[in-house]
Subunit: 423 residues, 2 copies
């Protein structure tokens, strides 16, 4: 007889559960080796939690869309579907529409990439997809990709899915340290590693907010060029520098050695899922074919919508609006940190982008603090998510992009005692 | 001194070309092994050619979008962006919106899949992307996937990109031959192969137009189940059966052994790039995480547009319209083939879908005929594109989906003398 603690389950459900368990066992040997490395992103985990009412989420790096010209975008979508629907709703070219690829070159010119040829632009389903394609084209299992530590969690997930070893290179407050990069490549080569590319987010790094100094950029590319290592430059935030002109990307002036990834997710709308890769001419064909083999073509309607927006709206003005908005929110976050954080905690002071990176004393693991923070009404992302190493992390990421200045202050106020108790 | 035949090239261009050649050589060793298998699809090649004015294209399997309610879809997009833009243009859940996944279950119920749980539906960027994910989750290099010969060229490209061996199983006019499937699995196993799944397009196969007989379907699944081989059922055309009810998919009644792929590309609009996978519960998590690692999430606006269309429009009536339209065009093609084709040429008589498969005498290679056909003003896809083997093919694919009955007749009329001359 069942003990009182045994839950009563309807007989049907037991049968279904049994059948499923049997099927799971039968199919266990069917998984590819790489499948073991495909994991839930900690960011996505927290994404679900952070939707709870009453919480202040400093977790998600969502752009703030309230300032978009929704009436204009809606009217444009209406016009595209009713007047050009037979094109907008049909299959298109695998590389993306010629018009959007030409306009993407104009967007990149804002940052100083003035020699881009639309023939070398490949429109992708967000720049996440471009990272997947880069691994598909270049990485065998066991190959090495160099990266910052911390770095973008989605890229780390992609590397794991391709069984790529992500090897960190030392950084300081000016980003990657050139000498450390040079040394790391030499060490890895000496140990027999195949180093394929350096993955870097040089401007307003996600999660650290750190920017690679202008004076280092050319040196970094030259070290990679000399070592025959490609640079994969991920630059979704580049145009969102708070003050002054955007920084010159590593790709500017280095057409043969840098694959540049851009995105409309932060300067327009992530729900359209449109990014791009600007690829060296001699690598264009493989990159394009790999992209086509995954999705056939990017969504046509979305491409035409972005084209219409870029052609008919003051998108530079919109970016200026965003820069002001995010600058204000970042200032609110830094002021709140100054006001509430106890001694022994430090943080970065970004010049753009969405994130501040907070460092606790080295003995603190921020992962278990997350649940205490949620109890206190605030959400962050623990630092371990952003590291290629498996070690605990004493860091955490705070995003200021998606919430108001008041909420940012309230969130930091709630977070402070949780961190205080831990140190 | 240069001979008069040497083209004069500006010195700058020479320098650029030289630099590029040097870079190409420096980077040649960076490609992954799999990159060698990533090729241009012959269908996409012809896609570009077939845009030339004056040609009748029987090449592309584009759906005919003229009958869509464009005014309604446009108004819906306007409403979504202006009233719900902050959701529609933002990141969404990696698995797809709950509403669309629930509606997808209603669409599948039309075909006889009545036990689908929205929790096991994963919305993908077209069903091409779902094929990529299936390979990512299940296939190591060298693994075997069983398939029909001929089969969908996009799937063959995906298999090559994952270094998977696509092994054909014998078919007849009723589709896959169960005994041949059983024998092939045993032979491959005896030879040490890892057979991961059977990829099949059971209804109105692309390119053959052949449908797997109802009486064979359960037997095919059972053979795979007994051998612990999954079934990947690709069913984009299932609802486009000309007469009678749709055929019952292999997935119906077999929740644990079949991954079912569906698509909005043929019943609504390919330019939205939305498809889905219905995955056995015990495989759902890996499949979903792999999907998320490639694209983060499917485009939110597009999902909401499809949801609004399904909720507010008579989509069953729209499918009935399509069925009538494609039935008429198929009849026009079969009548034209009867009228114009010389003796010695045969073709399939599909019950649905977009394609007729034409067989020439075995000694004829249809690939070189393509250029003669283009000169004669008509385009088709040579059969070799659809075969996992590298041998020349005496077959060719004609699509009746995208052109009017008159154009179909004219295209077949132009094609006949080209084929006549070849046999």
């Amino acid at each position: 007889m069942a003990s009182p603690d045994t839950p009563l389950v309807p007989a049907d459900d037991v049968e279904v559960a049994l059948e499923r368990a049997v099927a799971a066992r039968r199919h266990a040997h069917l998984f590819a080796e790489r499948a073991a490395g495909i994991k839930q992103s900690a960011v996505r985990d927290v994404f679900d939690i952070s939707m709870r009412p009453g919480l202040v989420s400093l977790a998600g790096g969502n752009p703030f869309l309230q300032s978009l010209p929704l009436e204009k975008l809606g009217a444009l979508a209406y016009q595209l579907i009713t007047e050009q629907g037979l094109v907008a709703l049909q299959y298109g070219a695998g590389q993306g529409t010629p018009e959007l690829r030409r306009q993407i070159c104009e967007v990149m010119a804002e940052e100083g990439i003035t020699d881009a040829d639309p023939a070398n632009v490949i429109v992708t389903v967000g720049s996440q997809s471009a990272q997947d394609i880069a691994c598909k084209v270049f990485c065998n299992p066991g190959d090495v990709v160099l990266c910052e530590d911390p770095t973008y969690v989605g890229a780390l997930n992609t590397f794991e899915a391709y069984q790529v070893r992500a090897e960190p290179v030392a950084t300081d407050e000016d980003g990657l340290v050139p000498e450390a990069l040079e040394r790391r490549i030499a060490e890895l080569r000496a140990a027999g590693a195949n180093v394929k590319f350096l993955y870097t987010i040089p401007s307003f790094n996600n999660p650290s907010g750190i920017t690679m100094a202008a004076g280092r950029r050319q040196r970094i590319v030259e070290i990679c060029r000399t070592a025959d290592v490609l640079v994969l430059e991920d630059n979704p935030y580049g145009l969102l520098r708070f003050d002054g002109r955007p920084m010159r990307p590593l790709r500017a002036g280095n057409p043969d050695d840098v694959i540049y990834l851009g995105s409309f997710s932060k300067i327009l709308a992530p729900g359209l899922r449109l990014g791009w890769a600007l690829v060296p001419a001699h690598l264009q064909r493989r990159f394009y074919l790999a992209s086509e083999s995954v999705t056939l073509c990017p969504p046509t309607l979305n491409q035409m919508l972005v084209s219409g927006y870029l052609a008919g709206h003051d998108w530079r003005g919109q970016i200026a609006t965003y820069r002001g908005l995010y600058a204000e929110r970042c200032a609110a976050m830094l002021a709140a940190l100054d006001e509430f954080m106890p001694a022994g905690i430090s943080w970065t002071r970004p010049d753009g982008g969405f994130f501040v990176w907070v460092s606790l004393p080295g003995h603190v693991d921020t992962y278990p603090l997350l649940h205490r923070a949620i109890d206190a009404g605030v959400v962050f992302i623990p630092g371990a998510a952003f590291s290629p190493s498996d070690r605990p992390s004493s860091k955490l990421r705070l995003a200021f992009s998606a919430v108001s200045a008041d909420s940012i202050r309230e969130g930091v106020r709630r977070l402070a005692p949780v961190l205080q108790a831990a140190i």
